[in-house]
């Protein structure tokens, strides 16, 4: 839960829409819904690698792994379990 909240908070701080009450579920595709743009994808990758101490390999470099809160959390958990 804590991981989910942290990822969600990071996305919320980088939205490109500024209306009140912008809401998205943990399964909403943040790129397709237009809440973030392609410049954010790079920032998100750097954030995940630095803040969670993981390296995203070639096979996981797929926008689908970064498109929802749940997918991002799954990726981080997968990488963490892989190295421990």
């Amino acid at each position: 839960m804590e991981l989910q909240a942290k990822v969600r908070s990071y996305i919320e701080n980088n939205l490109v829409v500024f209306e009140e009450n912008v809401q998205f579920s943990d399964d909403d595709n943040i790129f397709e819904r237009g809440f973030v743009n392609s410049l954010f994808a790079m920032k998100l990758l750097n954030y995940i690698e630095q803040d969670f101490g993981i390296t995203v390999d070639n096979e996981d470099l797929d926008i689908a792994n970064f498109s929802t809160v749940n997918n991002i959390v799954s990726l981080i958990e997968k990488k963490r379990s892989g190295v421990s």
Binding site: N13, V17, F18, S38, A41
Partner: protein, 285 residues
């Protein structure tokens, strides 16, 4: 015409991403900048942005960073420019700086070399006038970030030949770009219409018609824009918007391009948009 070697002049954000995009599709790239710090930043940016390219483009998935380094040579001189089939120039949007570079390019390139000016506001016809063969000069206005934005606004100068337009179109399509050919007039289509739209949105805010968030919401939900005009303005930088409007105003002498006083006040106050943490919206730096 077989295009194999591209000389990219200027290793800023746009030039660096153009070089990376071309390298991913197997072109030989000569990336030139006179500033060694810019070159260091370019190397770092390429290794970072390459991950983004792999994230969003499946057709370059099999490429490695080593492949990319193998395609790009970094230089501060014009020694290999004689090999260039195409020059893509991305230096600062300043006429005097461009004039100096094109005077140099005409001395070092082959008579067959084609020239693409990557610009959102400089006249392609005027750049053409600097060269011995203005038929070989064309505009290519790439969008940021280059590797993930398909659209390229291609500008035909007054003397640009049909052959140069055809070669440019095929060249751009070879690395998955979607060229849209327009004629040379100040601001082309992109800046001419976008700046006017943004400016009028700012007038609407100044006149108390709507709050910034509601202006953007109308464009997003009503017209299907991915980003509202004011969020777009914040991303581009309000100082850049102000400058672009002044260039358009000066070019057309038409008062419709006069910058809204609220925009001028925000720029004076240092509210420059995303890069300063505050524009029409607040940002977490």
């Amino acid at each position: 015409m077989n295009i194999q070697t591209i000389a990219v002049v200027g290793a800023g954000v746009m030039g660096t991403d153009v070089a990376l995009d071309l390298a991913c599709y197997g072109y030989n790239v000569i990336l030139k900048d006179i500033d060694s710090e810019a070159m260091d930043r370019a190397r770092k940016k390429i290794s970072n942005d390459f991950k983004l390219v792999k994230m969003v483009k499946k057709d370059v998935k099999s490429r490695t960073l080593e492949d990319v380094w193998g395609q790009i040579s970094f230089t501060s001189d014009y020694d290999r420019f004689g090999e260039a089939d195409f020059v893509i120039e991305n230096i600062t949007e300043d006429w005097e700086a461009k004039r100096k570079v094109y005077r140099e390019l005409r001395e070092v390139c082959s008579p067959d070399t084609l020239y693409a000016v990557n610009t959102s506001c400089i006249s392609i016809t005027k750049v053409g006038s600097l060269m011995p063969d203005p038929e070989k000069v064309i505009g290519m206005h790439f969008m940021n970030p280059v590797p993930v934005k398909e659209l390229v606004e291609v500008i035909r100068g007054e003397h640009t030949s049909d052959e140069t337009v055809d070669v440019s179109r095929h060249f751009l399509e070879s690395f998955k770009k979607v060229p849209v050919i327009v004629n040379d007039f100040p601001g082309f289509v992109t800046n001419r219409v976008l700046m006017l739209t943004i400016n009028e949105c700012i007038w609407s805010v100044q006149d108390g018609v709507a709050e910034p968030a509601d202006v953007d919401k109308i464009f997003r939900l009503g017209f299907g824009h991915k980003m509202g005009p004011l969020a777009t303005a914040d991303l581009i930088g309000l100082d850049t918007i102000h400058h672009s409007l002044l260039v358009l105003y000066d070019s057309y002498k038409d008062p419709k391009f006069r910058p809204c006083p609220l925009l001028v006040k925000m720029v004076d106050a240092g509210y420059l948009g995303k890069k300063s943490g505050k524009g029409f919206f607040q940002y977490h730096l």
